[in-house]
């Protein structure tokens, strides 16, 4: 059974059909790419998958469970985590606390335990700190753990967002243009990190990207969106050489 199965997904904003008859099947452990020109509806698909928008049609199955129309926090608890196109960190929190916020639902104690500083508080906080540092180390952010997140350079902010998403222990990780604004060296490093995450965390990853070098470098399967509809899909090398795709990107 596929990890993610999406069928006939659609959403309308007023009269505008932003995404129509979208389908997607991702197997466990896959590195899947969602590409298409600007305004094709890629981020809208992410917003539908994560419950930011409620779909008007279709359904979404994650690991066989129907998560269509569920709230964002429920979907996260079911196992989908994401990053954002326009980075959304907790800017005034430290780098470590950003990750610890991601651990929120996995290391629990009550508000009262926290206020009264019961022994459980110290125990759980210590575990959280350790886990957070582990994750930060993966992304080479451990030295910046006490920095304010908003003070990190751009590339590291993108990485921190991935670390925070991983902290929620997802089954499926959605990356929205992870390489946006990065130089070729940073992009290369990011590709290695994404592969590492997939292998080390046994993660299934769906990403939106415009950087074709990254897409062709790491994605195994692609779906191409254009004007809210699927233009084509299949293996990366095949899709990228499809004349339809080239036309969609470059125009007639």
């Amino acid at each position: 059974m596929a990890l993610l199965e999406v069928k006939e997904l659609g959403i309308s904003f007023g009269g505008l059909r932003a995404v129509d008859d979208f389908h997607l099947t991702i197997e466990e452990g896959q590195l899947y790419g969602l590409i298409g020109p600007n305004g094709a509806g890629k981020t809208t698909v992410f917003n539908l998958l994560t419950g930011v928008y409620k779909p008007t049609d279709g359904y979404i199955l994650l690991d066989g469970e129907n998560i269509t129309g569920k709230k964002t926090i429920e979907i996260n608890q079911h196992g989908i985590a994401r990053t954002f196109q326009n980075i959304r960190l907790f800017g005034d929190l430290t780098v470590r606390d950003n990750v610890k916020a991601g651990l929120h639902n996995h290391y629990k104690y009550s508000a009262l335990t926290g206020i009264l500083r019961l022994p459980k508080y110290y125990k759980v906080e210590k575990e959280m700190d350790e886990r957070a540092m582990e994750l930060l180390k993966v992304f080479d952010l451990d030295k910046e753990a006490d920095y304010k997140a908003s003070n990190l350079p751009y590339g590291k902010q993108r990485k921190l967002e991935i670390a925070r998403a991983l902290a929620t222990d997802p089954k499926l990780l959605l990356l929205d243009e992870p390489a946006a604004g990065m130089n070729p060296n940073e992009t290369q490093e990011l590709m290695n990190t994404i592969r590492f995450v997939r292998d080390e965390f046994h993660m299934t990853i769906l990403l939106i990207e415009h950087d074709m070098k990254l897409v062709s470098g790491i994605c195994e399967q692609l779906t191409v969106l254009n004007f809210g509809q699927i233009l084509t899909e299949g293996e990366t090398s095949v899709v990228l050489n499809d004349p339809k795709v080239i036309t969609a990107y470059l125009g007639e």
Partner: protein, 294 residues
């Protein structure tokens, strides 16, 4: 029934005053994205200027009112220049606190000049009341003038914004001040103009308010200011028709609430209506829904 009509007319009259004040609130909010808490106190200044020039210096009412409008317009621009302009890029809270400081400042200057005793304000209106249904419903001259003034201001302001260059500049700045600047709109001048118009209107509102409710103290403007703010939010803050509708409705609700439910609870009723409206429609009656882009 006749009683109801006379309450209703009074309500529309009070609502007209709220609407005029709310216009100032809403315009400033729309353009500078700030809650100008001192706006209510400009009303009070307007009242005192008329009080001084008319009762003190014996000038004719029309001249007094004109002086009052000029003084308040200048005051509004001065406040903007000194207190708000340096904070254009500061946090909303910083601007809010500054506005509160300006409010305290105006109140205390008035307190120093006029003392805390209530001044009895002589109405600027000398039109005879209209008596309807054999005297069962009497509509005072103040009421008539207030309602007419509100309609005239509303119509004038709407056409100013729609047809004049400065008016369209105001719209552009309220939509996106950065983009407006790039298109050659002088943002600073536009904001100053907005404050000027808003404060001039506040002077008018002050005169009308004090003519109908002739007790003037340094704190006269505070509560109507808050109510007008409520009216602006009620109608959808940033929307000019919203301020008009919100103001009138608020005035009517307040007067009817006072008459039929409880005089002590009138303010609570006004606020309760606001709460209910916002809970049903979180951006007010005519406010625009702005969706955050993810």
């Amino acid at each position: 029934m006749l009683e109801f009509i006379s309450y209703l007319v009074n309500g529309i009259s009070l609502g007209s005053v709220y609407a005029i004040i709310a216009l100032g609130y809403t315009m400033v909010y729309g353009i500078a994205k700030m809650l100008n808490f001192a706006h209510g106190d400009v009303i009070m200044v307007g009242g005192f200027v008329v009080f001084s020039t008319m009762s003190g210096m014996g000038l004719p009412p029309v001249i007094s009112v004109l002086i009052s409008i000029v003084v308040c317009t200048a005051l509004g621009m001065l406040i903007e220049r000194i207190a708000y302009k340096p904070l254009r890029k500061a946090s909303k809270l910083a601007v809010l606190i500054t506005a509160i400081g300006v409010s305290y400042f105006l109140q205390n200057v008035a307190l120093l000049i006029y003392g805390s005793n209530t001044k009895s304000f002589t109405s600027v209106v000398s039109i005879d009341p209209i008596s309807l249904a054999d005297g069962a419903v009497i509509i005072s001259g103040e009421t008539i003038v207030t309602i007419i003034a509100c309609i005239v201001i509303m119509a004038g302001l709407t056409s100013f914004i729609k047809y004049s260059k400065s008016g369209r500049a105001m719209l552009a700045v309220s939509e996106d001040s950065g983009a407006a600047q790039l298109m050659g709109v002088n943002v600073n001048a536009t904001i100053a103009l907005t404050f000027a118009i808003g404060s001039g209107l506040a002077a008018v509102a002050g005169v009308l308010l004090c003519s109908s409710y002739p007790a003037l103290t340094p704190y006269t403007g505070a509560m109507p200011g808050i109510k007008a703010f409520v009216a602006a939010v009620f109608g959808g803050i940033g929307s000019i028709p919203g301020a008009f509708v919100g103001g009138i409705l608020l005035g009517v609700i307040e007067i009817l609430g006072k008459a039929y439910i409880s005089a002590q609870l009138a303010d609570a009723i006004v606020f309760a209506v606001l709460v209910i409206v916002l809970l049903v429609k979180p951006t007010g009656l005519l406010g625009k829904q702005i969706q955050e882009k993810v």
